[in-house]
C-alpha cells in the first residue's frame, strides 16, 4: 500500500490535516509536542487506499528528543513514501529548514503552507508559485482548521516530486 507521511515542525497543524483526511480523531492542541508517537490512518486517493501517517513534529532530522527520534526513524524506514511537509506559513524560514532536509533525503515532497490566514493577519506575503518553482516540488497554501486548500493539497499529492539540493541552489542564485 502506498504510504504518505505528514511531517513538519511542532505545532503547525499536522494532526488537523490527519483528522481531516482520514476521519480518525487524534488529539490536537495549540501546544508544541502534542503528538509524541505516530498515528496511522487510511484515506482514499484516486480510487486507491493509501496509508497516512501522522508523524511527531520535529525541527530537524538530527533528533534531540524521543518524539524527534520517532520522526527521523519513520522517514528512514518508509524511504519510498511521499511526504506532505507542513509548514507554518508565518514562520516559513524555520519550516523550510526541515523541508530541505527531507528533500535532501530524496523523498517525493508536497509543501503545505498552512495557517495561511495567519499570514494575512501578520501581513506576511509568500509567493507560493515562486517557492514551488524554486524547490521543484508542488506547494499549496492551506488553512487546515477550516479546510481551505485541502482539495488542492490532496490533488497535488500525485504530482509530488523529488528534487536535488544542487538544482535548488542553482535556481536560487
Amino acid at each position: 500500500m502506498k504510504r504518505i507521511l505528514l511531517m513538519g515542525n511542532p505545532n503547525v497543524g499536522k494532526s488537523v490535516f490527519f483528522n481531516r483526511l482520514t476521519g480518525v480523531n487524534v488529539i490536537t492542541s495549540n501546544y508544541a509536542g502534542t503528538t509524541v508517537d505516530y498515528t496511522k490512518g487510511y484515506m482514499c486517493l484516486e480510487g486507491e487506499d493509501v496509508e497516512l501517517v501522522d508523524v511527531p513534529g520535529t525541527f530537524s532530522l538530527e533528533a534531540k528528543d524521543k518524539a524527534e527520534e520517532v520522526a527521523v526513524k519513520m522517514l528512514d524506514e518508509y524511504n519510498d513514501s511521499v511526504v506532505i511537509c507542513v509548514l507554518d506559513a508565518s514562520k516559513i524560514e524555520r519550516g523550510l529548514y526541515l523541508a530541505l532536509e527531507i528533500i535532501e533525503k530524496g523523498h517525493p515532497v508536497v509543501i503545505a503552507l498552512n495557517m495561511w490566514d495567519d499570514t494575512m493577519v501578520k501581513n506576511i506575503e509568500v509567493d507560493v508559485a515562486k517557492l514551488a518553482s524554486i524547490l521543484g516540488v508542488p506547494a499549496v497554501s492551506t488553512v487546515a482548521i477550516t479546510g481551505e486548500g485541502l482539495k488542492e493539497l490532496v490533488s497535488s499529492i500525485g504530482d509530488a516530486s523529488s528534487a536535488t539540493i544542487e538544482d535548488i541552489i542553482g535556481r536560487v542564485s
Binding site: 530537524s60 538530527e62 508565518s90 514562520k91 524555520r94 526541515l98 532536509e101
Partner: protein, 75 residues
C-alpha cells in the same frame, strides 16, 4: 558589543555571531543560525529558559544553550 544570549536585556536586539560547535546543528532547525537577527523577549529567573524572537517566530531556549550563543548587540 558582544553578549551571551543569556545575558541580553529585555527587548534587546542583536545579531547572532557565534554558536558553540556542539550546539550548532542542534539549534539550526529552530532558526538560530549565524548572522540572524534576534530579540530577547523574556528571561525566566534562576537560570530558566530564555524566550527569543527570531525569523518572525518565538522560540524558547534552555539556559545552558542560551549561554553558548554569542550575540553582537551593537554599542
Amino acid at each position: 558589543m558582544e553578549k551571551k544570549l543569556s545575558e541580553m536585556d529585555f527587548d534587546e536586539e542583536g545579531t547572532v555571531k557565534e554558536i558553540a560547535e556542539d550546539f550548532r546543528v542542534q539549534i539550526a532547525g529552530m532558526g538560530i543560525r549565524k548572522g540572524k537577527k534576534v530579540k530577547m523577549t523574556t528571561r525566566q529567573p534562576m537560570n530558566g529558559p530564555v524566550v527569543i524572537e527570531i525569523g518572525s517566530a518565538n522560540t524558547s531556549v534552555g539556559y545552558a544553550l542560551a549561554d553558548k550563543v554569542i550575540v553582537d548587540v551593537g554599542d
